[in-house]
């Protein structure tokens, strides 16, 4: 049997533009009454298993200004390191934890997700990757969505062995993906994302 070869080309990406909130977070954009709630806003359900955490990030541009109009999506495994099974087309039973979230940043470029700490997921080499959350960032001035990951500072050993972190040649740049832990009502992991400059975040070609 022959393997398939691509016969079509991917539709080119275009910027999400300055009005991305109308389409992706309409209630946040004060367009109310179309959707009950903005999708991805609430990730946790009473049945979600795992350690509740807050993820806080700030997106900064090359001039040092906050990127105040971005939308961030995250995708992560559950506490056991499993990804949510796909929902059936007519399913009414959303999983206890879908693993997907979407948040607009505020005017200071800050996004906040209330989620759970993911478990380790097997890497391509069969060894566990360190717990991580995948991020996708879109905004005006971003021509193609930026993919990166957030790792957890208190997973020192797992981070040191992580498949993806170890593909970053410059060890200093690995730090751009590692969120520091702050104590609060919920453990909070904080990561600044720099689009350009000395501290530019590592973005992926996935």
């Amino acid at each position: 049997m022959l393997h398939p070869v691509p016969t079509l080309r991917e539709t080119p990406s275009q910027t999400a533009g300055p009005y991305v909130h109308i389409g992706m977070t309409p209630n946040f954009a004060e367009i109310r009454g179309i959707y009950d709630a903005d999708p991805g806003l609430a990730m946790l359900t009473p049945d979600t298993v795992g350690e509740r955490i807050e993820i806080v990030g700030r997106i900064v541009d090359g001039a040092g200004s906050p990127v105040g109009d971005a939308v961030v999506e995250i995708w992560q495994a559950d506490a056991a390191g499993a990804f949510a099974a796909p929902m059936g087309p007519n399913s009414n039973s959303a999983p206890a934890f879908s693993g997907w979230g979407r948040q607009p940043v505020n005017g200071d470029g800050v996004f906040t997700f209330q989620t759970i700490k993911p478990g380790p997921v097997a890497g391509p080499d069969g060894k566990p990757m360190a717990p991580h959350v995948s991020l996708w960032i879109v905004a005006r001035g971003i021509n193609i969505g930026l993919q990166t990951r957030l790792y957890f500072a208190d997973e020192t050993e797992a981070n040191a062995a992580d498949y993806v972190l170890n593909r970053i040649a410059d060890p200093r740049r690995r730090q751009t993906l590692i969120a520091r832990r702050e104590e609060g009502a919920l453990p909070r992991y904080v990561l600044d994302i720099y689009l350009q400059g000395d501290k530019e975040t590592v973005f992926f070609d996935v």
Binding site: H3, P4, V5, P6, T7, L8, E10, T11, P12, S13, Q14, T15, A16, G17, P18, Y19, H21, I22, G23, A29, E30, G33, I34, Y35, G62, A77, G81, A82, F83, A84, A85, P86, M87, P89, N90, S91, N92, W100, G119, A122, P124, P128, M129, H132, S134, W136, G141, I142, I144, G145, Q147, Y163, V164, L195, Q196, E200, F203, F204, D205, V206
Partner: protein, 248 residues
């Protein structure tokens, strides 16, 4: 430590052809200047975190989610503008349909005005037009929605730049690495070729992929025009291919 994959979906994605997409930094579109990463992207290969992705059930959809003519109506009045159906098929690079995937869309009203607090264009708001909708593709990858044709609008880029009429699209696919945002334009619009954002797409054939075609066969007589816009997401290699590689 396991991951659940879609049936037949465990092959890696084809590498993204970045020369087909806009570069990060495109000086003609000035907002990219301080927002484009300057370091090369790091190729990480595909792991379970990229090969899986969120899915959405049809039960999330409201009855009018795919009808922008009526989904923001305040008093039963329909949105003002040229009525049309936008439809198409979501496919992958192997030309296989992508079923059951969420498609979101947003646009300006018929006058070119967005319902957004940062929008300063003097064209009037339509009280009965919100500008967003969503749907989930059927088992053959098709989506459709009803709306009014958006107007062109000016934007602060070069002093007198205008966006051609367009609709923004967000598509999920079945893997987080397939996530795509793009814009749809209308066949025959001369303004497409004057737009700095369109011009970020390096290849004319790529721009052509963003242009919806008028489809007379799917018009609703005495009601709506129809435009077809197909969307192609990244495709996957088959596991067969990978086994072969190992065998060779």
């Amino acid at each position: 430590m396991s991951s659940i994959m879609l049936p037949g979906a465990d092959g890696a994605l084809y590498q993204r052809d970045h020369s087909w997409h806009p570069a990060a930094n495109t000086p003609g579109y000035k907002s990219t200047t301080f927002r484009a990463p300057r370091q090369p992207l790091l190729a990480i290969g595909a792991t379970a975190s990229e090969l899986t992705g969120p899915t959405f059930g049809h039960s999330m959809l409201g009855a009018l989610d795919n009808d922008l003519i009526r989904n923001y109506s305040q008093d039963g009045t329909e949105a003002i503008g040229q009525r049309m159906i936008v439809f198409g098929q979501v496919l992958d690079e192997n030309a296989r349909a992508v079923p059951n995937t969420l498609v979101e869309f947003w646009q300006a009203n018929a006058g070119g005005r967005y319902r957004h607090k940062k929008e300063g264009y003097l064209a009037a708001l339509d009280p009965n037009f919100g500008g967003c909708g969503r749907t989930i593709t059927d088992e053959n990858g098709f989506y459709s929605f009803r709306t009014v044709k958006p107007g062109a609008y000016p934007w602060p880029n070069g002093g007198n730049d205008w966006r051609p009429a367009h609709i923004h699209f967000s598509v999920f696919g079945h893997a987080f690495a397939q996530r795509l945002i793009t814009q749809m334009y209308f066949e025959g619009d001369p303004m497409i070729w004057q737009c700095p954002i369109v011009a970020t797409v390096p290849d004319k054939a790529g721009i052509d992929q963003l242009i919806a075609r008028l489809d007379r066969h799917n018009t609703t007589p005495m009601d709506s025009l129809a435009y077809r816009f197909d969307i192609v997401l990244r495709g996957r290699r088959s596991t067969m291919f990978e086994n072969k590689l190992e065998g060779n």
